[in-house]
Symmetry: C2
Subunit: 314 residues, 2 copies
């Protein structure tokens, strides 16, 4: 019995620093309406989809920094997204910077939420793998201060929603096989994943020309190795002088890309995703219970960094 | 400072059941000689490289089964490989079925060894992820009885050899991201991996036309995500009526295929592999100590099979 979700991967072009929340929300609404017109039930927006990618700057003024975060969701400028979702019956995934008050203290997270077709929040995810650095590194063409501006989230959850089991991740999470596996072990059938990825990686410019290849490689492998759909959605194009890769795509449990954006701007890639296509992977090659060997995986949780076997003969 | 190993991925065409060990060893020797003539230091042979892929048959006669296993390594028919290796200064990786006597009991493993340029065994690996099934399943076009004919090995090691850190795996291991990660956490710079993969997978024929795509996808992702070379070597072609995929290749730490076989027969793919190319991956994007989050990976070792979140609202 097929279980279809019609999904729109809603790529955004650049968001400049001068663009207001209202400007951006208008673009998100346009995506919601177009996706609805094309029969979609779920729209996937990028990471930090309400602002420019502000970790590219070292910001010393707390007020200047705080302006990039949402204190409530929905808030004054974003409420219309939830109302429109409910009215159209089109839910969404949205990435944004979250400023939470927890026991009186301000905590900052790189967050995504999953919203149902009724406009209600189903689940929240806080990014686990924060890339970049925590201190100002002026030698870079641009900063990548996620380790400064966010705290890491605790882990990867999945939710029963849209007739299946849905997981969330953000950007750099997609490069880590553990991301997909932890959700695969909870039965994930579709992983939603927004990202902002510059073409240029200042610490390793020798990889720049492979950035799109790596982007697709990790998501395709994660999909296949866990028998799950993956919806990877970029903010692309030239944002505040920084070129971002785009490469939005929808990947089947086979690992095949079945829909993709071909621009770096606001663009929808749409697929009719049958969650039951996961079944033949999850019950054969990737029948975890039958074939996995956790007793041989101890280092994955007991060791963080790599340690070479110095005790062995050279 | 580059650290080069010149590697030959020594694909084998089919080995029929009637072929003697001597016939096969002659083919391996031809590969060793040709690789030496082309300046290689290391030759990588496939999984179960001394016989036909016998788990495709349900064998009830113990003597008939035992004939496929090696009781000692080197043995009478294989000693010439080690002698030739030492004479030429060309080491090798070799997969074979191992019958070990441990505390008086016969134990069977799907094994590979790494042999140095002096012809001495450096390390032994016993396959962790045994695919297939343990009982006769007559409905299949052919059996895949690895779970019957072998016991699983305990885990993944690496060895300081050939000027770097070398790991080993076998066939189905390559589909599991944990394989690469456990070796990556030990600093692996090159993972040697022999395989026998039929085009047709009886439990999931709907994936047959993707078998080569999946073969490359998992090895390329494993290489990139751990900043390691991967040398994947097939036994290919039509063996006892069963078509095998071939697809032998050498993959750089970038995930790019840098050398590949284009036939299904005995063929060498050769690359000059700089182990120092691992460095820019292991110290930036995949600096494990800086970016991994083992506290979020608990399920990978605490849970074998997938468990859906049934406790959550539908």
């Amino acid at each position: 019995m097929p279980r279809f979700i019609n999904v729109a991967a809603a790529q955004l072009g650049p968001i400049q620093r001068a663009d207001s929340r209202r400007d951006v929300v208008e673009r998100l609404l346009a995506h919601l309406h177009q996706a609805h017109a094309m029969g979609c039930q779920l729209v996937v927006f990028p990471e930090l989809a309400l602002t420019t990618f502000f970790p590219r700057w070292y910001l010393e003024d707390p007020a200047e920094l705080d302006a990039f975060y949402e204190r409530e969701m929905p808030g004054a400028e974003t409420r219309v997204l939830f109302e429109t979702a409910a009215r159209l019956g089109v839910g969404f995934y949205l990435g944004y910077a979250e400023l939470a008050l927890e026991q009186g203290a301000a905590r900052r997270y790189n967050t995504s939420i999953l919203v149902g077709q009724d406009g209600a929040i189903i689940g929240k995810y806080r990014k686990v793998h924060l890339p970049g650095h925590a201190e100002h590194e002026p030698w870079r063409d641009f900063q990548h201060l996620e380790k400064r501006y966010f705290e890491p989230g605790p882990g990867f959850d999945v939710w029963r929603a849209y007739g299946g089991v849905i997981g969330m991740a953000l950007c750099n999470d997609r490069r880590w096989s553990e991301t997909y596996r932890v959700m695969g072990l909870q039965g994930a059938e579709m992983i939603l994943l927004g990202y902002n990825t510059p073409v240029h990686n200042p610490p390793a410019p020798e990889h720049d020309d492979l950035s799109m290849f790596h982007n697709h490689l990790v998501m395709q492998a994660g999909a296949y190795q866990n028998g799950t759909w993956v919806v990877g959605v970029a903010k692309g194009g030239k944002e505040e002088g920084c070129e971002m890769i785009g490469g939005t795509c929808i990947i089947a449990p086979s690992g095949e890309i079945v829909a993709a954006c071909s621009t770096k701007g606001d663009e929808l890639a749409i697929a009719r995703c049958d969650l039951d296509l996961c079944h033949s992977y999850k019950t054969t090659t990737f029948n975890f219970d039958r074939h996995r060997r956790p007793d041989a995986y101890g280092l994955i949780t007991s060791r963080r960094g790599a340690i070479e076997p110095e005790h062995l003969a050279a």
